[in-house]
């Protein structure tokens, strides 16, 4: 049974510029002990969706949330503030991108951990502190007892993120949501943190939702991946299958546009033209259509549903191209064809790739 089941989650914010449709009809499930990666660019709604799961968007005051989030038998969206509070930090924990700003600068690290324990367990301060020290040791902080009386600013970025992880896992939650946990870190430290997460997931059997923009991180850590674009999930699959047989043109774009150390220099990068869409004035139809090289007229009108592949029910995609065409296109792209060439070869009608001079459609 799924630990977390999100279905039809929709979140929007009222701002003075208009309604920001941050998350639009998002559904996914996370099984106990599994790691789901949510990939997307900034503005794709990946963070907002998980904050909403935690009930943290409620505090924004201008958020409107609908859909259903079931966690371990609780209906999170319908839950009262107190019920949610009891779940937060206890059953579901969350760690954030910037560990410096996410830790209270005026409180000792130990106290912040103790607080997390005592918010959910009726234990003495001393016991809670012991637990905190134990946890700090577990996440690899040297001299945990001494470090418990340090302030966050006395730690390095990597250590702070370890503290955050210790705080998240201190009550042995069933689910940990990690929102870009390594983005602010250097690559060597990132490796440390990723390894730590992987180890803890194994040891504590925690399910993880890992939110990131880095496909590499996803590939290393997760079991399943959901790719988000403009507030929607456009493709979802077990990690290996997604990388092996990506189905959505946006996923192709991502895979082909990022420079990779494991590729030779002469392998060309194929950029995704244009720029991420506005969440207020979302493109009609398939939100990706202004940037999609294979766009067709009806793509601009019809919103593609997220549907499982015929042959692979675990792999879903929201694309109006025929599965056949997609397979063809990808194989050509993979072989080094440009999107234009691939389109021509496969015979997808349309205007072709939007001009690189993206400035033209800005404004």
């Amino acid at each position: 049974m799924a630990l977390l089941e999100v279905s039809g989650l929709t979140v929007s914010f009222d701002t003075e510029d208009g309604v920001v449709q941050a998350v639009d009809d998002v559904s996914y499930t996370v099984d106990a002990g599994c790691a789901l990666g949510i990939v997307g660019e900034s503005g794709s709604g990946k963070s907002v969706s998980s904050l909403s799961v935690m009930g943290l968007t409620r505090f924004a005051g201008n958020a409107r949330i609908s859909g259903e989030v079931r966690f371990d038998g609780h209906d999170l969206l319908a839950a009262g503030d107190e019920e949610l509070r009891r779940l937060r930090g206890n059953e579901i924990a969350m760690i954030f991108q910037d560990p410096l700003s996410s830790l209270h600068p005026f409180f000792r690290v130990g106290d912040q951990l103790v607080e997390a324990v005592r918010a959910h367990r009726d234990v003495s301060r001393a016991r809670a502190l012991d637990r905190a020290v134990e946890m700090l040791g577990l996440v690899g902080i040297p001299e945990p007892r001494r470090c418990a009386s340090c302030y966050p600013h006395e730690f390095s970025g990597g250590m702070r993120q370890r503290v955050m992880i210790a705080m998240g896992l201190i009550n042995e939650p069933k689910l940990l949501i990690a929102d870009e946990p390594t983005t602010a870190l250097d690559v060597t430290v990132q490796a440390q943190i990723l390894e730590l997460l992987a180890r803890l997931q194994r040891e504590l059997d925690t399910a993880i939702v890992l939110i990131t923009h880095d496909l590499g991180v996803v590939a290393e850590v997760t079991d399943d991946v959901a790719v988000m674009y403009a507030g929607r999930i456009v493709e979802q699959a077990p990690t290996e299958r997604l990388f092996a047989r990506p189905q959505h043109p946006y996923t192709w774009g991502l895979l082909q546009s990022i420079p990779r150390v494991d590729h030779r220099r002469d392998e060309p990068l194929v950029p995704i033209p244009g720029r991420p869409p506005s969440l207020i004035l979302r493109p009609s139809g398939c939100a990706f259509h202004p940037r999609c090289p294979y766009v067709q007229e009806h793509h601009k009108r019809i919103v593609p549903p997220l549907e499982p592949l015929a042959g692979d029910p675990a792999h879903s995609v929201a694309c109006l191209l025929a599965e056949e065409q997609r397979r063809e296109l990808w194989s050509r792209l993979r072989a080094g064809a440009t999107p234009d060439e691939a389109r021509a070869a496969v015979g997808v009608p349309g205007q072709g790739a939007p001009v690189l001079r993206e400035g033209l459609e800005a404004g």
């Binding site: 943290l56 937060r88 700003s101 600013h153």
Partner: protein, 322 residues
Amino acid sequence: MAGFITRRVLWMVVLLAVISVINFTIFSVLPSADPVLLRAGRSASPELVQTITRQLGLDKSKPEQYLTYMKGVVLHFDFGYSYQNQVGVRQEILDRLPATATLALGAMVVWLLVGIPIGIVSAIRRGRWQDKLAMGLALLAISAPVYWLGLVSLYLFSKEIGVIPIFQGAGSYPPDGSIVSEPIAVVGSLLLPWLVLAASFAAIYARFMRGNLSEVLDEDYIRTARAKGLSERRVVLRHGVRSAITPIVTILGLDLGILLGGAILTETVFNIPGIGRLAFDAIQKSDLPIVQGTVLIGAFFIIALNLVVDIVYAYLDPRVRY
């Protein structure tokens, strides 16, 4: 830290010296009443004028006068004698200090007790009617000059003349009492001045607190606190207020420093014999020693409290180290 304090104390001495020079220049170079002639009285003989000049030390050159003065200040903590009546300036200031301190500190307690909670409530209820009402009133309080507010409240509430005589009013500051010896009398007579003086400060602090807390509540670590599953009350009062109140120490130190140097307007309206009025009278009477003394003491409070603020801040905010 010790180095920091040493440096700041040294700088404080320099600042005070500079301020005393400026002050001395303003009051001795620019025209004002002649203290000697004042003392000499009508048709005073030139000899008498001379003696008084000598006695007041005004026969020496200006720099010499200044140096003599500073020597007294530095070596003996002696601020000289009033030109008017030969009373020691130090004694005069010490006599006036309790009144000013009682006024300022009492008002501070009032404005903190009133301003901070209002600011917190406003920040939590941001944009709602409680917030709008509180902030509207705060702006009104900030816009009303203290002397006018004082007059109006005296007119309305003072015991002698008020429409609704509730509070002790003008001229009733206990001449002999201090807050220690006659607490009830002092508090009774200072209640109205405290409230009036505290009004605009409370408003400023409420606005400041609201602004700070609003910003703090948007911080990542507040999100973390919520994610930990802390109650909203604890999130706001412990995590939020703890950060939001820290910068208040800064303005509190500044405001208190300025007030301890004399709350001229309030002291004037309520007839409180404090340092502010001493200074004001001295300016009117060109009584340079008193002016120097009060300006120095005022500057001292401002600078010293600034230093205190910085030190306290280092304790409040562990990130700050000197």
